[in-house]
């Protein structure tokens, strides 16, 4: 039997970072994700793999430490919760502009402002449509279980380095705080300085050699034509992500008349709602978004031709619903349901919304 552990999502994510061969974690505590840095401080990965863990003086400092480490070709990670991510947005925009790989984790809580410490999914816009300034995208992964908090860390680093682009893991208070069974992958070794030079020598700033040109990492180019060309390059990366890195899961959609579209913990709650709906005789399926950017527009559009309606279930006032509506081009009815501000909807409430807004509506 594999070594099964019972762990909180936040702790599992922290352990997964060590196993993924992460070089450095910089963070600043905030509920509901403080267990990430707590676990790392307790576990002392410096003794295990040499990974550095540092509590920065602020979220802003932490994201810029990530920027520095990423510039040296290191696997760097930070995590926070909503208000802390807002503070990091300047740095995230700079990471994207400078084409640096990094993993940023947001265990979302209710907002706006300081909001509440309870779960929310109201940072969808912030994660998928900028957040910081400029035309950039993050690759955004939405785990729906503690196991995915583990599995997505390695995927996040792989994608970040493949595209030289920051990646976000967008969880929420439920996924961060709950405990589930989890199995960890084998320890990946951290890259040596020689391996970094060999793999990323064309861009990392790890010290100038006599036999090569200086690498420069910057997001500044005062010549607008050069900046436009740089933006074209970024857009091409986002197009490739759309083509090659899209992930989603369809549950019982084959015979479905109605589809619940959801991600993260709302997808879990929707699964229960689906069971209740099927007991009542409604043919309901779930389209679970795993990547929020890229968004499965084509796949949802195809599905729209076959079903009677969609209900976007998200713990927000209605954010992902906008992408859903754009995707399905009016081919089927689509409505939003969700509690927000830190309140979590129940499976029964989702079922009731489905009945009132879509089935009878």
């Amino acid at each position: 039997m594999a070594d099964i552990k019972l762990m909180k999502g936040n702790e599992a994510l922290a352990e997964a970072a060590i196993r993924a061969g992460c070089d450095a974690y910089f963070g600043y505590p905030i509920t509901p994700q403080s267990e990430v840095i707590e676990y790392l401080m307790m576990e002392r990965p410096e003794d295990r793999t040499g990974m550095i863990v540092l509590q920065a003086e602020s979220e802003i400092a932490a994201i810029h430490m990530v920027y520095g480490a990423a510039g040296a070709g290191k696997k760097a990670m930070t995590s926070s919760s909503s208000p802390g991510i807002s503070l990091k947005e300047e740095g995230i925009s700079y990471l994207a502009g400078s084409e640096l790989p990094a993993v940023i984790v947001n265990v979302v809580r209710g907002g706006p402002g300081l909001g509440t410490i309870q779960p929310s999914q109201a940072d969808y816009f912030q994660s998928t449509k900028g957040g910081g300034h400029g035309d950039y995208r993050l690759y955004v992964l939405a785990p729906a279980s503690v196991q995915e908090m583990v599995d997505f860390v390695d995927i996040a680093f792989e994608v970040a380095f493949k595209y030289r682009n920051p990646v976000m893991i967008l969880a929420d208070g439920i996924i961060g705080q709950m405990m589930e069974k989890v199995v960890f992958p084998e320890q990946k070794p951290r890259l040596t300085d020689e391996e970094i030079e060999e793999k990323y020598g064309d861009w990392v700033t790890n010290g100038k050699r006599n036999n090569k040109e200086r690498n420069i990492i910057t997001s500044l180019d005062l010549d607008p034509y050069k900046q436009e060309a740089h933006n074209h390059k970024l857009q091409e990366k986002y197009r490739l992500m759309q083509e090659d890195e899209l992930m989603y899961e369809m549950i019982d959609c084959e015979d479905a008349d109605y589809i619940l579209v959801a991600y993260g913990s709302s997808a879990r709650i929707s699964q229960k709602a689906m069971q209740l709906a099927r007991e009542k005789g409604y043919k309901v399926g779930i389209f679970r978004l795993i990547t929020l950017f890229p968004f499965p527009s084509k796949e949802l559009n195809e599905l729209a031709g076959k079903v009677k309606g969609f209900l976007a279930v998200e713990m927000s006032a209605g954010q992902m619903i906008e992408d859903l509506k754009l995707a399905i081009e009016g081919k089927a009815k689509a409505e939003h349901y969700g509690r927000y501000g830190g309140v979590v909807h129940s499976p029964e409430e989702v079922l009731e919304a489905l009945e009132n807004q879509i089935i009878k509506g």
Partner: protein, 183 residues
Amino acid sequence: MTEELIIAGFGGQGVLSMGKILAYSAIMQDQEVSWMPSYGPEMRGGTANVTVIISDERISSPILTKYDTAIILNQQSMDKFESSVKPGGTLLYDPNGILVHPKRKDINIYRITGSKISTQMGNKKVFNMVILGAYMKAKPIVQLENVIKGLKKSLPERYHKLIPLNESAITKGMENIEIVQEI
């Protein structure tokens, strides 16, 4: 088989750790589990509750409004969760500090004087294990041997010497559960 359970009481009663031990025991039996605490600004003396789901299948929502079983350890939780037990479900409570006893007629109700028993045992910290024992008698879902295995796995080695004490508390709970009503 799916057991949807809420354990609710005061912070400091061992509500969360009881849920954790239960979850670990179910893992030892090769079942799926989820453990979701209320994580508000609660502290010792405030209310605390945890939803534990044990299932042979993949678990959907970790957050629920209706439960197969409610283990209720203070009046506030009784007020809040008595109505959340599914018809035909089970309510287990400790009468200590309970002024308004459960009134439902459509559920099984059991009582365990966990505070009294743990005080008599001379160690109030095993309170939650007495309650766990009573639960295991009322709903035989996790086996004692798997609870012990779970304790061994979840506790650091230096606490393993306390396992026999916990085991006897569980046994006390099993022996002293009282039936209020069975439907």
